[in-house]
């Protein structure tokens, strides 16, 4: 599944990308395989997402979240 399918409050481990070359900025900000990401909430209009990873908060659009493959943690 992809990161955009996670609901607020759910967590997942990044497993890879749906695209050969995801945006460089995403990768530089630490969106890397093996990293645990938590979806905190969606913006009031439903997009972008508010995430927590590496102990900090990052917001990205659903479109980019759809490029990141995750494995949901229970």
């Amino acid at each position: 599944m992809t990161l955009r399918e996670l609901r607020p409050g759910e967590r997942g481990t990044i497993r890879g990308y749906a695209l050969q070359n995801p945006p460089e900025r995403l990768v530089e900000m630490g969106m890397l395989p093996g990293v645990i990401v938590e979806v905190l909430r969606l913006a009031p209009l439903g997009d972008p997402m508010d995430l927590r990873l590496h102990g900090y908060r990052l917001s990205i659009r659903l479109k980019e979240a759809g490029l990141i493959l995750v494995e949901k943690l229970t």
Partner: protein, 740 residues
């Protein structure tokens, strides 16, 4: 302490929101200098290390990476690599990192290490890291990284002495390149380094390494070697092609390599004694401020508060400035001998400077609020809330703030667009910012709405005048969005905008820092804009006063009549009261005469001639020569039209609340008896002012920020075209529909 700190150059690098400014202020005291890097408008902030006047501390822009994507990153990289004109490579780099978020922060530190520069890591905000349940062993970290690590709480000056000590005794350059390269690259990379060293012997081995990596990852970085080192260029090209064939992204592999190395060395250094997903204070605040319903409501209320402040709280200060400038004018009149010099000084220079200074209270207030929003961390939330809306027109949440600021004044708005990561977004934002109705349009809206829009109620409860005012703001805003969409659709095609933004923890703002930045930014505004308005008002004054009109026979006759009537008035005045009344009547007549004399002058001045020349072009919009002249002068600054109309209609000191000017406008007739101003003409004029770019300062700032005259020229042309077109539609359409 070393024998000499003279000439030592210290660069401060680090991610945004890690307290870099605080550390910079601690190191330099308040003796800092803000300038621009040559050719770009990224601020170059520097200052002497306190106690060591010859050592210079340079604050680099806050960036997440040294791999250039934004203007800020390019500057930071060029500065550290010694590529900037007139800038020597720093002797020591202090990388300030947030202790609570080490991996992402040290990612950039590894890039600095690879440049082969002596590095000190300032481990800032160890207190918040501890609160978040992280214990960091600084000496173990220093050993693992191979560079000094100084734990700090910059906000409380903790660790400052240790940092200064380390700066004055810089460590040797760290051993670079200890993170693993992927196998597909490692061997060929060694070969490429050797090749580059041969072709460019002036580069050190470590610099060559960095250049190889950049050339492999970045097209622009590769292109520069085409002439400098053609063999190297060809070899990199070949390796890239081979990697592409095998579907290996070197850039991603490189980033992963750095993160992997970091997580392996950080694991034994950091001890967690709390669940990382525990809710922090910031989380609780965000549950409210970015809440689905409460978030937007609070955002709108905050906007209303800022508007309120800028539009009404600033008024007393603005009145004070105006009064001050007026008395300065009177003082100059009293000192200078009457004549052209006094006229130029008072009507040209002092009035012109006053026109700039009068906006300072609004701009200071605006910058104060913006500074508060930035320093608390709320700014990132406004981008988060609004991104969806901005995406519709091809921008991102980052443009919200520059566009909002433009409601006060397009100049700070355009300057605020610097923070945008994406150059295309930044340009579009700059190009549409002047469409937001700024405070300089307000006096014009006020005058013409009060004079020509009926004061009744719409549907029984909405004031028509207020509704008209709101419509002006709405038209400008809607057009800004339409223009952004059109620019993206037809001019800046290609690159998709994306939104990757950190939401930093909320922090208590430091008022002295907010104040300091407010002053610094306002100073840049006042100096830049001041220079233009200053020289332009001199020119305008000249254009309105020359050539000197000859005596008007009708006015001369009037003067004679007034003098003749004066004697009998005194003769018939029996008592002292009567004499006073006669005096007053005489003075009033003379005042009227002087006013008409000024009208006569301006009609025959360059501006009058220009207005009359332009009249045929402006006629289809419903404007006569006087309005045309007013519009021409208003291209310097919008509000100038009111003083121009004031001069033309001879009502002395006119301002937008002046009843006399309002009545004069209503009473003005064409020779055939039709009124010059009908409500339709007023609406047409209002529409013209909503869209036209009538502000020299905006053009000047746009020139500075885009580093080209092209964009300001395009901006001026498209906005003037919009203004003309929409006024034409309104006036001709109105006539066709039977509104006379």
């Amino acid at each position: 302490m070393p024998a000499s700190s003279s000439g030592l150059r210290i660069a401060l690098a680090g991610n945004p929101n890690v307290g870099k400014t605080t550390v910079f202020n601690l190191l330099t005291g308040l003796h800092q200098r803000v300038a621009n890097y040559p050719g770009v408008t990224v601020e170059r902030k520097s200052g002497p290390l306190s106690g060591h006047e010859a050592a210079e501390v340079i604050d680099l822009p806050g960036t997440y990476s040294l791999s250039p994507k934004s203007v800020d990153e390019q500057i930071a990289y060029d500065m550290l690599a010694g590529r900037l004109e007139g800038e020597r490579t720093p002797d020591v780099v202090v990388c300030i990192v947030d202790a609570a978020n080490l991996e992402r922060n040290l990612y950039m530190a590894t890039q600095v290490m690879d440049l082969g520069l002596p590095l000190i890591v300032a481990l800032n905000m160890v207190d918040s890291a501890e609160q978040a349940g992280l214990n960091i062993d600084a000496s173990a970290l220093a050993k693992a990284l191979g560079v000094p690590v100084i734990p700090m709480v910059a906000a409380r000056r903790e660790g400052l002495d240790a940092l200064r000590e380390a700066i004055l005794n810089p460590p040797p350059p760290p051993e670079a390149w200890r993170w693993p390269l992927i196998d597909a690259v490692a061997t060929p990379a060694r070969d490429l380094v050797a090749r580059l060293e041969r072709e460019c012997p002036e580069l050190s081995e470590q610099q060559c390494f960095m250049e190889v990596l950049h050339a492999l990852a970045n097209d622009a970085a590769l292109a520069q070697w085409e002439t400098l080192a053609p063999e190297f260029h060809a070899a990199v090209h070949a390796l890239r092609a081979k990697l592409a064939e095998r579907n290996v992204s070197f850039r991603h592999a490189e980033i992963m390599g750095r993160y992997q190395w970091l997580s392996s060395i950080l694991a034994p250094v950091i001890q967690r004694h709390k669940d990382p997903s525990e809710r922090t204070l910031t989380d609780r605040i965000d549950a409210l401020l970015t809440h689905r319903v409460a978030g937007p409501v609070i955002f709108i209320l905050l906007l209303a508060l800022i508007f309120q402040a800028v539009f009404s709280w600033a008024v007393p200060a603005m009145d004070l400035v105006e009064a001050g400038m007026a008395s300065l004018g009177r003082l100059a009149r009293a000192i200078l001998p009457a004549g052209a010099l006094a006229d130029l000084m008072v009507d040209g220079v002092i009035t012109g400077v006053g026109n700039v200074v009068v906006f300072l209270p609004q701009i200071l207030l605006l910058f104060f609020f913006l500074g508060l929003m930035e320093d608390t961390g709320y700014m990132a939330r406004t981008a988060f809330i609004m991104d969806r809306v901005m995406k519709k027109v091809g921008l991102s949440g980052g443009s919200v703030l520059p566009l909002l600021s433009s409601f006060a004044c397009a100049i700070p708005g355009i300057m605020a667009a610097r923070t945008l990561d994406n150059q295309r977004d930044r340009l579009i934002t700059i190009m549409v910012a002047p469409l937001m109705s700024c405070s300089a349009r307000l006096p014009i809206y006020t005058l013409f709405i009060a004079a020509f829009i009926p004061s009744g109620l719409l549907l029984g409860f909405i004031g028509i005048q207020g509704f008209a005012m709101f419509t002006m703001y709405l038209m400008g805003t809607v057009m800004a969005f339409v223009a952004a969409w059109a620019l993206k659709r037809f001019i800046f095609k290609g690159t998709e905008s994306y939104f990757v933004m950190e939401l930093p923890p909320y922090r208590m703002p430091k008022l002295n820092q907010v104040f300091w930045r407010m002053i610094q930014r306002s100073k840049i505004f006042a100096v830049r804009a001041g220079r233009i308005i200053f020289s332009l008002s001199v020119v305008l004054w000249f254009l309105a006063n020359y050539p000197k009109a000859g005596p008007d026979p009708a006015l001369e006759q009037l003067r004679a009549e007034i003098e003749v009537q004066r004697e009998p008035a005194y003769a018939t005045a029996a008592a002292t009261d009567g004499i006073h009344a006669a005096d007053r009547a005489y003075e009033a007549s003379m005042q009227q005469l002087a006013d008409r004399q000024r009208t006569h002058q301006i009609r025959n001045s360059f501006i009058g001639i220009l207005g009359r020349t332009l009249e045929p072009v402006m006629r289809p919009l419903g404007f006569d020569w006087k309005i045309s002249a007013g519009i021409v002068t208003a291209f310097a600054a919008r509000e100038v039209i009111i003083s121009t109309l004031g001069i033309i209609y001879s009502v002395g000191d006119a301002d937008e609340t002046s009843v006399a000017l309002r009545d004069q406008l209503k009473a003005d007739r064409y020779p055939d008896g039709r009124p010059v101003y009908t409500p339709l003409v007023a609406v047409s004029l209002l529409v013209f002012f909503v869209f036209a770019l009538q502000c020299m300062s905006t053009l000047a700032i746009a020139r500075r920020e885009t580093n080209s005259w092209l964009w300001p020229a395009v901006m001026w042309c498209y906005m003037t075209a919009l203004a003309y077109l929409f006024s034409l539609i309104v006036y001709q359409g109105g006539l066709a529909l039977g509104f006379a």
